[in-house]
Symmetry: C2
DNA sequence: ATCATGTGTAAATAATATCTTACAGGTGTA
DNA sequence: TACACCTGTAAGATATTATTTACACATGAT
């Protein structure tokens, strides 16, 4: 989850969805100003982390639109919460 | 700051310092089980993000020990706080 | 048929991050 | 002198992430 948020693009994506509400991929790509394939990749990472969810819908004119919206996640980051969370890290495995 | 915490090693470093208190580089490397140069690199990133601070001290037998300790940082991660924080991201600059 | 819209993904490249190894210097003690 | 501990960093290899470009497929309208 932290890795998913450690990227300016993805922060902006979450911020845009949180502020402007749900949106579909192509439109979101235009608003943020990045290419659609790149946005698609970032959305995949955000969805894998549970920060956004997608729902396929049909527009009035019959086109398939994949709408994304932000989930109501919450995480507090302090030395204490990290000490607690670090216990769930496998012994000495990385990445 | 998010980038600094998006790494298992660095999470463990923060957790170890938060739980066991201040420690110097070589000793911390032994406790965590990673090489000293690698720990040094991660400590640099954590310090640059303001998550830890260092202080050079002299041990009783005259050796220079660089002690690190965690700061009392705090950050709440929700869609709303991210929307707020995203405003401070430069227009369309990355990384 | 062609164009404009939407979807997805694969492949190649570019840019970062991570990690190891090796070096250089310091102090104190045997 | 040699060894044990401490410090730092630079160079190179490896791994991961980010980004672009190109492709394939679908629908509705011209």
């Amino acid at each position: 989850m932290l890795a998913a948020l450690a990227n300016p693009h993805r922060l902006r994506i979450v911020a845009t969805l949180a502020t402007g509400g749900r949106n579909y991929v192509s439109q979101l790509a235009r608003e943020i100003g990045i290419s659609r394939p790149l946005l698609h990749l970032h959305l995949q990472k955000l969805e894998a982390a549970g920060l956004v969810v997608s729902q396929l819908e049909l527009s009035p004119d019959g086109k398939a639109l994949n709408y994304f919206e932000v989930t109501d996640f919450g995480l507090e980051l302090t030395p204490a919460t990290i000490a607690q969370a670090a216990k769930s890290l496998t012994a000495h495995s990385e990445q």
